[in-house]
């Protein structure tokens, strides 16, 4: 398991979003724990992730609290 702020491009599963405020922000945009996402652009700078046709840019401060797992 890794932080979203530290991974490379590729397919990942969101394991957990640590702070509730951040979980709320993410779920408002349609992203939930358990979702399979594609990291389009890793750090440095905001991480860009994609879930089906939802694409979201996430700053470092939020990305560091999103725990993901590599999916083959």
């Amino acid at each position: 398991m890794e932080k979203l702020s530290e991974v490379k491009e590729g397919k990942y599963k969101i394991v957990e979003i640590l702070k509730f405020g951040k979980l709320k922000k993410m779920s408002n945009l349609g992203i939930f724990p358990g979702d399979i996402i594609e990291v389009v652009k890793p750090t440095p700078g905001p991480v860009v992730i994609k879930k089906e046709n939802i694409t979201i840019g996430i700053g470092y401060g939020i990305a560091m609290d999103i725990i993901v797992e590599k999916v083959e």
Partner: protein, 660 residues
């Protein structure tokens, strides 16, 4: 005529504005929501003998009291008798969009759903059983493709139907036995006094731990008792109520959408958008593309705008001549020609450029590029201590500083806000464009686009340095992290882009027009008296004022009173810098006269000064409202100081290097 009120709600990026534009056409106006500085759009259309007034609510994902935009939407639905609440839904993103439906249904009953961008959903292999959805959610659906104007007539018909028969029931989400029990307990408590909002809505907001609504009702109900019950429930369910509500909503919507999907191709891939995004947000190429696009836009404004501007000037010249030939008294001739036509007219001739700016900006917005620009700028903004969202007001500043400063309300952090506000006046607004167009046209014949671009760039650099400077001295803080949706790429709907840019141009000139008219009138009076025969000369009031301040600019290369007057009137409204030269030198020989007073270096130095010195009156007033008098005064002196410093430095260095 009978009138009905339609409110449009929806997530951002669902094509809300396009639908609004398609429904109302050009019969619309932009303004502000009362008391706040969020843009409000209203319009109307007539269908089957009924006048439908349409209000475009701010785009939101949720309905909390904690954000200005969302509060506006909530209060509008409470305060007004809305006949039809039209919810625009992105068909390819149904699940997330229906979340807002659930929230809205707790507030308003007469909801109609516009399933927009149905073509994109179909392309992706998604199809819904609409009748099933209508049955489950108890609302009507209309399919549209906003950016191709498909389905708009059916939408009008359905709005008409909804408006004459009021809906008796709507989908109500059941949050489960325990939660529903506590909801009715809170409702009972709330019902002991009267509130503005429906009690179920308030009860749910309390469970959501929405601080705004809790503070609103805290003292009027037995809040202690309610908190205890909530705490008990949380212990039993081993989860916090706000979390339970969110999970419940999404769970149920997920189920409904799953049930209604007819066909979904096995593996959905969105490779093209992904590939484009990989390039556009790339840390190396991304910023280059961003710069290149900005460069293209400013070149475009110049290339397409110039012939049109010249055409308008030609018309004004004709007007001037016919006034001259007429038998009006000479003071009236002078007032009309030297005052009004020279002042107001010289600004009107820049309408095409302003329109083009808004036009290109709308395209960036509609294609979805703007959000990518935020990603690209975030890294840079982070280095200077802000996040990418501050880039949006800053970019807005290119249009007009006033909405840009208002736009800083999207920033949650007060210090972020002050820093962004301090730097916005350096973003070159469209009112400053006429100055560049005039001077670049006269002094930099072959490189006009590049010269104008360089000024915009200078503005950006100065504003970033401003943030860095004040951020590291007084306003030290940690900025809030960024989160932003990148909408799918779309071809813009040209009609909507046109309406959008036209409405904004109109609004801009209506606001600026009165100021410019008054300004031109005052300038004319000062130029005409006390010696009418020496119009606009140093013997009149205008020259005397100019002479007092012009020594200030001795080292910047424009030590003559006309420049002083132009800069003073520019504080009133930046457009007046050009029109003042028009009034003082006469618009006819303006370019030749300016060549006598300026050389290439001092012309550029003057452009730097016009770019950087003091925000205009309207900006000043907005700043005062947003960040208070102290910071506004700081901004005033800061801009003046920086403008003087850089233009002087530039003039002295280049004169030294090249020689005058």
């Amino acid at each position: 005529m009978e009138e009905k009120l339609v409110a449009i709600a929806g997530n951002p990026n669902t094509g809300k504005t396009t639908i609004f534009n398609s429904l109302t056409g050009t019969r619309q106006k932009v303004g502000n929501w009362p008391g706040v500085t969020v843009e409000k759009k209203e319009g109307y259309y007539i269908y089957k003998g009924i006048k439908f007034n349409v209000v475009d609510l701010p785009g939101t994902y949720t309905l909390t009291g904690e954000s200005e935009d969302q509060k506006i939407a909530i209060d509008f639905l409470i305060e007004n008798k809305v006949d039809v609440l039209l919810l625009i839904v992105d068909a390819s993103n149904l699940e997330r969009n229906l979340h807002l439906l659930v929230l809205l249904s707790e507030l308003h009953k007469n909801i109609l759903i516009d399933l927009n961008m149905i073509d994109i959903a179909e392309k992706e292999g998604i199809e819904y059983d609409i009748t099933h959805l209508e049955k489950l959610l108890k609302v009507k659906f209309v399919k549209t493709i906003g950016n191709r104007n498909i389905g708009i007539e059916e939408l009008r018909e359905q709005i008409y139907k909804e408006s004459i028969e009021s809906r008796s029931e709507i989908f109500t989400l059941n949050y489960g036995k325990e939660v529903e029990k506590i909801i009715s307990e809170i409702e009972n408590n709330l019902n002991k006094s009267t509130f503005y909002y429906p009690s179920r809505f308030l009860a749910i907001k309390i469970l959501e731990k929405d601080e705004y609504f809790i503070n609103l009702i805290k003292d009027k109900i037995e809040y202690e008792k309610i908190s205890m019950s909530i705490l008990n429930l949380e212990k039993i369910l081993n989860n916090s109520t706000d979390r339970i509500l969110i999970e419940k909503r999404y769970g149920i919507i997920h189920g409904i959408v799953r049930e209604a999907i007819i066909e979904k191709k096995k593996e959905l891939k969105f490779e093209i958008t992904e590939k484009i995004d990989k390039v556009l947000t790339n840390n190396l190429i991304g910023p280059l593309i961003f710069l290149f696009i900005m460069f293209l836009i400013f070149n475009g404004i110049f290339t397409f705008g110039n012939p049109l501007n010249n055409f308008i000037e030609l018309l004004l010249e004709k007007m001037r001549n016919s006034i001259l030939m007429s038998n009006l008294p000479s003071y009236l001739k002078s007032l009309i020609n030297d005052g009004i036509i020279s002042g107001v007219g010289s600004v009107i001739s820049f309408v095409p450029s302003i329109f083009l700016f808004f036009f290109f900006f709308s395209i960036l917005e509609d294609t979805g590029y703007l959000a990518r620009a935020v990603i690209v700028s975030d890294r840079l903004m982070h280095k200077i201590g802000l996040h990418g969202k501050s880039a949006i007001p800053l970019i807005l500043g290119f249009g007009c500083n006033v909405p840009a400063i208002m736009g800083t309300r999207i920033l949650e952090n007060k210090k972020d806000k002050i820093l962004t506000c301090l730097s916005i006046p350096f973003m070159s607004c469209s009112a400053r464009l006429p100055v560049y167009i005039l001077f670049a046209g006269i002094f930099f014949n072959n490189n006009q686009g590049a010269i104008i671009f360089s000024l915009y760039l200078l503005g950006i650099i100065v504003s970033l340095l401003t943030i860095k400077f004040w951020g590291s001295i007084v306003l030290k803080h940690v900025s809030t992290p960024l989160i932003i949706e990148l909408p799918p790429f779309r071809t813009p709907y040209w009609k909507s882009v046109f309406i959008e840019s036209w409405t904004r141009t109109k609004y801009f000139f209506k606001k600026a027009g009165t100021l410019i008219f008054l300004g031109s009138l005052i300038l004319w009076l000062l130029s005409y008296f006390p010696n009418p025969e020496n119009y606009g000369s140093e013997f009149n009031y205008i020259g005397k004022i100019g002479k007092i301040i012009s020594p200030l600019f001795k080292y910047s290369g424009f030590n003559f009173w006309q420049a002083g007057v132009a800069l003073i009137s520019g504080i009133y409204a930046k457009e007046l810098v050009v029109s003042t030269f028009g009034t003082l030198f006469g618009i006819k020989d303006l370019s030749n006269t300016l060549k006598i007073y300026f050389n290439t270096i001092s012309a550029y130095s003057f452009m730097i000064m016009s770019l950087l010195y003091m925000p205009c009156l309207a900006t000043f007033l907005t700043l005062r409202k947003e960040i208070g008098l102290k910071w506004t005064i700081i901004s005033l002196f800061w801009t003046l100081f920086i403008g003087w410093l850089i233009s002087t430095f530039f003039y002295q260095t280049l004169t030294f290097l090249i020689g005058s």
